[in-house]
Symmetry: C2
Subunit: 215 residues, 2 copies
C-alpha cells in the first residue's frame, strides 16, 4: 500500500476510535512509525487528511445512492441501499459524530458538504419516487421529497444521537449493532406506506435490522 | 425586568442572530449598555449563561411534551404539540445549531442533555402510544418507540440541516417559515399510519405546515 493510503487508513481508524478532535498529526505519524516530517510531505495538515477522507466517503455514498440504470427498482435493491447505508455510517462514523465542528473549521469542506447533502436528498427522492413508480410505496400517501429529507436527517443524525443520548457507562462505545438500529429507523418510516404486494417481504427485512435501543 | 433576566434575554437574541460562537460576554454587555464587570456579577462566564438558557429550553419542552392527565388524547392536542415544537425550535434555534460544540465544551451540560434527550424520547413514545390507544394511529403499523426516536432526531436535527444544507446566498438566514417546514417533516411521518377517522383532519393540519424546500 502506498504511504499516502496508509496515512489515510490509519487516520480513519484513529478518528473513528478516539474522535477526530483528540487525534493530532503527531499521533497519526506515531501510529504509523513514521516521522511527522514524512507525514507532512504527504499532507500539509489534519484538515487536508479530513478533506481526503470526506472525498472517499462522498464517492462511497454517490456510488450506491442512485436509481438503477435501464431497469425498474426491485425489492432486492432495498437490501443493497440499506446495507450500503449501514456500511458508510460505520466506516466513516467520525464524520457523522463531529460534522458540525468539521464544517465550522473548514469553509471549503462546508461548501462541498452542502452540495453533497443536496445531491443525496435529490437521489433519495429519485429512489423513493422509483419505489412509488413500481408500486412498492402507496402513491397517494408517499411524499418522496419529505421522505428523502427525513431519511437524510436520520442517517446523518444517527451517530450524533447515539453519542449524545444513548452511550453511557453501561454501553460506552459505538458498535455495529447500534448503527444497524439506525438503518431500522430509516426503513421503519415505510411501514405505513408499503403496498400489499411487498409488505411481508419488507417487514421481514425491517425485523432483520431490529436491535433493542435503551433510551 | 431584573438585570439577570435582561442578560439572558439579550444573550438569547444575540446567540440566535449571530451564532453562539461569535458572541462574547463583552458583546452581550455592550448590547445591554452595561459594564463587563456588572455582567460578571450575575454570570461567571458565557457557559453559565448557556446553561441557564438550556434550563429555560428544557422547562419549555418538558412543559408541553407529555400526555394530558386524566383524559385521552384528542386531535386538538396535536395542534398544541406541533405549535409548541415550532415555538421551541425557533426561540432556541442557537441551541440546535451548535449543540455538538456546546456539549463538547461542557461535560455537565452534556450529562443534563443526555437525561433530557432520553426523557423527550420517552415522552414522545407515550404520546404516540396515546394516539394508538385512542385509535388515531393504526396499532398494527405504528412502532411508538421508533416513531418517537425519529421525531426527536428530526426536531433536533432540523436547524442543523437548514444551516449546513439549505441556506445559501439566495436564502442566507433562518426564517420562521423554514422552521415550520421542520414541523411538516415531523407530522409527515404519520401519513401512512393515520386511521380513517382522523385522516382528513390531520392531512389538512399537515398542509398548513407545508413550506416549499429548495434542496
Amino acid at each position: 500500500m502506498k504511504t499516502r493510503d496508509r496515512i489515510l487508513q490509519t487516520s480513519l481508524q484513529l478518528f473513528n476510535q478516539q474522535g477526530e478532535r483528540l487525534v493530532t498529526t503527531n499521533h497519526i505519524a506515531q501510529a504509523l512509525g513514521m516521522s511527522p516530517g514524512n507525514l507532512y510531505y504527504h499532507f500539509r495538515n489534519k484538515q487536508q487528511i479530513i478533506a481526503e477522507l470526506f472525498s472517499q466517503y462522498q464517492a462511497l455514498v454517490d456510488g450506491f445512492l442512485r436509481v438503477p440504470e435501464g431497469r425498474a427498482l426491485e425489492v432486492a435493491d432495498k437490501t443493497m441501499y440499506l446495507e450500503s447505508i449501514f456500511k458508510s455510517l460505520w466506516e466513516f462514523r467520525f464524520l457523522h459524530r463531529d460534522l458540525e465542528h468539521l464544517l465550522n473549521s473548514d469553509a471549503q469542506l462546508a461548501e462541498r458538504y452542502k452540495a453533497f447533502s443536496r445531491r443525496c436528498v435529490q437521489s433519495g427522492q429519485a429512489i423513493y419516487q422509483g419505489m412509488i413508480d413500481v408500486g412498492m410505496l402507496c402513491a397517494d400517501r408517499t411524499n418522496a421529497q419529505a421522505l428523502a429529507v427525513n431519511s437524510w436527517l436520520l442517517m446523518t443524525g444517527w451517530v450524533g444521537f447515539l453519542c449524545t443520548s444513548v452511550l453511557d457507562d453501561e454501553q460506552p462505545e459505538l458498535t455495529p449493532e447500534l448503527l444497524r438500529r439506525g438503518v431500522y429507523q430509516v426503513l421503519s418510516q415505510e411501514t405505513g406506506l408499503l403496498t400489499e404486494g411487498v409488505r411481508s417481504e419488507v417487514e421481514s427485512m425491517l425485523q432483520s435490522y431490529y436491535v433493542p435501543l435503551k433510551v
